[in-house]
Symmetry: none
Subunit: 260 residues, 2 copies
DNA sequence: TTCATGGTTCGACCATAGTCGAAGCATCGC
DNA sequence: GCGATGCTTCGACTATGGTCGAACCATGAA
């Protein structure tokens, strides 16, 4: 009767808000330093260290010491999958991390899902690629078409390097705010970084916000948005407030993080 | 900044041993009374009531009052899927509720996962459907083929009612004991109930065990198991397994606590 | 009615564990 | 070498929440 794996210990590890914030920040597989995770969780370095030790002892994260930095990452994508499942449950039962704040509408429109675009515009991006025949979508599997590869190469994506990478080119990621899939994987990451490179959007520091400029949004919608619709942007949405502060991006030279 | 679904609250709900025991007992799919759950969790009726109130407030379980009994059940199969995922993590990291009991090997072979078949035979079922071209599997998305619909209709599944239902027909559910996917969703549920209807297997009361009769297992394997002719190798992510019972040990040599 | 049973609420106790200050180590840059 | 930075350990404080005894409520049976 009492056999089987013990859910309670691993669930208890995820049940603390600080630890939950940390592992949530780690979804996507990029390693973060202990200090970054402490800031992400809103606790001091000592507390974060304690939490990270517990997560590591519980086998949920792995640590790699490099110089005076400790890089933490999830121990596998099975962890990420469980986290997504928990997010789904939390969304269904209506549990939000904070109550709706001023940044919330902007976050729902465009935010970074670790290294790819999420939110309304992220879902629109995938929809637009499907409508243009660049990718095919069946349930949660996404495949790039030959025409899509050409289209994206024309957009400035380095397609050969994508196919060389060990990472899957296209992945579906369930958007928690829209409750539909957006594009993840190597292509999703490359597209987002190209948006930054073109200056259509930029990251708001210390936030998951992706701020589109007015012309950037227009060009984005013209390129990826609904085709026939000649109606311009939704009038109820306004451009996210721009926070021009810039953070030093040379914080950890060993594993450059994906910001900019 | 800290917006998004709050996985901490739902994970904390599952992080208490008493509550974890309760929801684990509910994976069987049948509703249990508060008293039964109290005994299952090893706590008094008062504490069980408190825990169940929290689980209900968190949206993980639902309560149905009948006379002077309160019947609790999981609020959906998404809860069961998350629980299975957590079990997988716990198994991988070596957290077990108690030492391996006598019922454990049987549970690893065939058990009920909410309303569909799990364990070695559940994974074999999905593998067999893939090998026969009845479904296609890519990453975690499973799709029914036209040939598969005909095949399953011949097996006695009421396919029209499946497609009428609002529930997804095919879903992948990560099996915690085998560490590979088995078939969930409306089709998974229909297949299990057809197995019961045909008398190939029956449920063992007060347990998640699914007991196959000797002839039932033979017919099951003949219908869904590895085909006699060498089935073409499926180059998908998950390695096809013809003898699933002896897979997990050799697959994870670094985790020695899998003591049958 | 009266009693018995199952379930919930109230109140109090107490342990677990989350938190931070301060100190201790290691590494990096100069 | 030196100081600065990043991370961890130690110790103490505190509070959240899990637990049960007892009372309370509702249902069903005699």
């Amino acid at each position: 009767m009492k056999t089987g794996p013990d859910i309670a210990v691993v669930a208890a590890l995820l049940g603390d808000p600080a630890r939950a914030n940390m592992v949530t920040a780690l979804i996507g597989g990029v390693a973060l330093t202990a200090g970054e995770l402490a800031r992400e969780a809103g606790v001091t370095a000592q507390t974060a260290s304690s939490h990270l030790a517990k997560l590591a002892a519980g086998g949920l994260v792995e640590v790699r010491r490099q110089g005076r930095h400790s890089y933490y990452s999830l121990s596998g994508d099975d962890v990420a999958r469980v986290l997504e499942g928990l997010m789904g449950l939390a969304a269904r039962t209506g549990h939000r991390r904070t109550r709706t704040g001023p940044a919330e509408p902007a976050l729902r429109e465009a935010r970074v899902c670790y290294d790819h675009l999420a939110g309304d515009l992220g879902v629109a991006l995938l929809d637009g690629l499907v409508a243009r025949g660049a990718v095919t979508r069946s349930e949660d599997a996404i495949r790039l078409t030959a025409a899509g590869a050409a289209f994206l190469a024309g957009f400035g994506i380095d397609m050969p390097s994508l196919s060389r990478s060990r990472r899957p080119v296209c992945r579906a990621c369930l958007d928690w705010s829209v409750r539909r899939s957006h594009l993840a994987g190597a292509l999703g990451a490359a597209l987002l970084s190209q948006l930054f490179h073109l200056g259509w959007a930029r990251r708001v520091p210390d936030s998951r916000l992706v701020a589109f400029s007015a012309s950037g949004r227009a060009q984005f919608l013209a390129t990826f948005g609904p085709q026939a619709a000649s109606s311009p942007a939704d009038p109820s949405q306004e451009t996210p407030s721009h926070v021009p502060a810039q953070r030093p991006r040379s914080r950890h030279p060993a594993l450059p993080r994906h910001d900019v």
